[in-house]
Amino acid sequence: MTKEEANGATEEEQQAQSKKALKKQQKEAEKAAKKAEKQAKLAAEQQSADEDDFAKDRYGVSAMVQSQQKPDRALVRVEDLTPQKVDQLIWLRARVHTSRAKGKQCFLVLRQQQFNVQALVAVGDRASKQMVKFAANITKESIVDVEAMVRKVEQKIESCSQQDVELHIERIFVISQAEPRLPLQLEDAVRPDGDGEEEGRATVNQDTRLDNRVIDLRLPKTTTSQAIFRLQSGVCQLFRDTLTKKGFVEIQTPKIISAASEGGANVFTVSYFKSSAYLAQSPQLYKQMCICADFDKVFCVGPVFRAEDSNTHRHLTEFVGLDIEMAFNYHYHEVIDSITDTMVQIFKGLRDNFQTEIQTVSKQFPSEPFKFLEPTLRLEYTEALAMLREAGVEMGDEDDLSTPNEKLLGRLVKEKYDTDFYVLDKYPLAVRPFYTMPDPNNPKYSNSYDMFMRGEEILSGAQRVHDPQLLTERALHHQIDLEKIKSYIDSFRYGAPPHGGGGIGLERVCMLYLGLHNVRQTSMFPRDPKRLTP
């Protein structure tokens, strides 16, 4: 076999090749044909879809609102959707709380702060299938603009705040889309802490909440955050109103100061041009200077900075301080009476005007309602010692109260007098700061007082020493460098009235009034040794 054979072979090969090639070609042709078919089909569908989507311009994602136009459109608030608006075509802007598709319909719950309403997109002459699909796919928490007809419902919608009406959507546009994966789910964050553990559903722990404050604070009033902060706003408002009615003047004091006011240990230092300065631990010094300047009665509301490395449930490094200072005529009890009356007015105002908020909070964080007496109960330190000793606690006459003893005392007072708020008067002199006036009859005690809510201290106050001689003596006794407080002592040298006062922390008062367990729940963006953001 030679060339002919070879030829024959190649011929065979060629023949084989061509067979293979043929087969390949055939296969490819088939594939192509199939593809073409598919595409044709898709195209056909697309076309048909396009043809059927008559509602294309009634939904979609709007362009980002960059103030392109100023349409003369009035948006209705969800809380105003009442049976009076039935059969009206309205526009509104709200968040999508939930969206659920069911065959040819999509049910949405639209939420605005604490109010929500049910909305419906149904396939019909106004909405197409694609529109329903779009509505079902809108991510939770997105903000949408909706044009809808308000319709009456026969059966009340129990799960919404607007129970008598629902919206039939004609147009829906997404104004701001939310990312599909939220860092925390609203239903989880809303669940009371105890429940979740039992049933195995998730609850959100505090750190996650604080890291995502923006979503955490959005939780509607049917749960807690808004209620807590509305109540806090109420406390501040009542504080200002009550004091203004009593003739107090509101002052603003500087927060960057040159010398630590309460003691050197717990103060933040800031660099101040070429030297350094401190952040104010309390407005003490300036309040007193205002009294010496004859303002008679002053109060101030402002931040207080304490660099205490305490990671407890009740300490923050920055909080809002509500401080009072007033001159009195003959006895510092006039000051105590004024402060306790202010507190009682605040409690009464909260009790009478913020019941819905209090109830809302207690649904997620149950606690006993806050009780108080009018006029406020005032016990003396010796009485407290007697009560504690009777209960088995051993304490010296001049010892300070430790936190567990304070709590025990709170429980004992609650048992006997049924009040969550009381004043403890005549503390021993040894445990109070140097500017506290000593008791005239017993040098072991002082004209100072603490106020407690639910067994925890909220205010520390006293009659201040207004005589520069005595002040110098007391400062020396406490081994304080006189140079550092020279300007403080000087302010009393030109005639100073007898005065006293005290300061409370807004967050702590709210926490204790509502019976919450952590002061971070009442601080919007809390600061503590481990947290600096958000």
């Binding site: 009777e390 209960a391 048992e415 049924d418």
Partner: protein, 322 residues
């Protein structure tokens, strides 16, 4: 004289001056005569003779009032047994301070209330403002006469507001009330929305005492012991219970029955339990007045009511009822 003299026109006319009028000395002649400071009538000064007269008159009036008061006191003593000197009478006399001889023994508080731990012993009473406890107010009054009592009234947050007489029912604030440790006993009244009146004293050692009758018994023991004769003591107790269960809370029929019983008991003696004023009298009087049935009752009961009122302890209770 250089002037022209005129002869008298009418000689010898007799003028009859009226004799019923005062005769004043002639002002003009006096002026010429005086050099003495007899008359110095300047700046509204009174003639010393008149002044002396006024002083005499005041003295007589004062003596008259004293006499009147003494007579009244005597009259009351005759009608009311056991009141040598009446509180209401003594307040009108200038100098005397009456001590209530009804409760002769001053008790030792330490024996009754437990060891003094160096602090004010505070009795806390929670009462409903709809049913003010009159007996306790009367007992508070008596306690104040025996001990240094610091009385305070509070309104609990469960009650929105309380009429002003309930706020001042324990009397005016003591001048030393800023220094709690200067008092022997504290009496703290809290107006609260409670179903039944309760008293708390030492939460560790005592359970709360419920019911006005029981609290009254506790407070009374601070003033005087129960009668040593067990029969009389039981009688006192039974009258106290009758007062609170039937007089205050009972139906009209029950009340009528109690009034009849009162009448017969008071026929036997000046007070309900014999010759001594006791807790039974306080309780029955207060419950009767709360009902308003003090007016239309039998003679004995009327007499007894008058005696109670004469003692003067029921003043605060009566004020509250107005």
């Amino acid at each position: 004289m250089s002037m022209y003299q005129v002869k008298p026109v009418s000689p010898d006319i007799k003028i009859d001056l009226p004799t019923c009028m005062y005769k004043l000395p002639n002002i003009h002649t006096r002026q010429e005569n005086s050099c003495s400071s007899d008359h110095a009538l300047q700046n509204g000064d009174v003639d010393p003779a008149v002044r002396a007269l006024e002083v005499r008159q005041d003295e007589i009036m004062r003596k008259l009032y004293e006499l009147k008061a003494a007579v009244e006191g005597l009259a009351k003593t005759v009608t009311t047994p056991d009141a040598d000197l009446d509180v209401t009478v003594s307040s009108s006399l200038s100098s005397q301070s009456s001590s209530c001889d009804i409760f002769k023994a001053t008790k030792n508080l330490d024996a009754l209330l437990g060891k003094d731990l160096g602090a004010l012993r505070d009795i806390v009473i929670n009462a409903n403002p709809a049913q003010p406890p009159l007996t306790l107010l009367v007992l508070h009054n008596l306690l104040c006469q025996h001990y240094r009592v610091l009385s305070t009234v509070h309104v609990h947050s469960s009650v929105s507001s309380v009429p002003p007489q309930l706020l001042s029912c324990l009397g005016p604030k003591h001048a030393d009330s800023y220094a709690r440790h200067m008092f022997q006993l504290g009496f703290t009244l809290i107006w609260k929305n409670v179903p039944k009146l309760e008293m708390k004293f030492s939460v560790r050692n005592m359970c709360p005492i419920e019911g006005e009758a029981n609290v009254a018994r506790f407070l009374f023991k601070l003033l005087a012991p129960y009668p040593s004769d067990p029969a009389v003591a039981t009688l006192v107790d039974s009258w106290v219970d009758t007062a609170f269960y039937q007089l205050a809370d009972g139906s009209a029929k029950e009340r009528a029955a109690v009034l009849r019983a009162l009448d017969s008991a008071l026929g036997r003696g000046p007070w309900l339990c014999g010759t001594e004023f006791s807790l039974a009298d306080i309780a029955c009087y207060c419950c009767l007045s709360q009902n308003g049935s003090t007016s239309a009752t039998a003679a004995n009961v009327q007499r007894w009511i008058k005696s109670c009122e004469n003692l003067g302890h029921f003043g605060p209770a009566k004020l509250l009822l107005k």
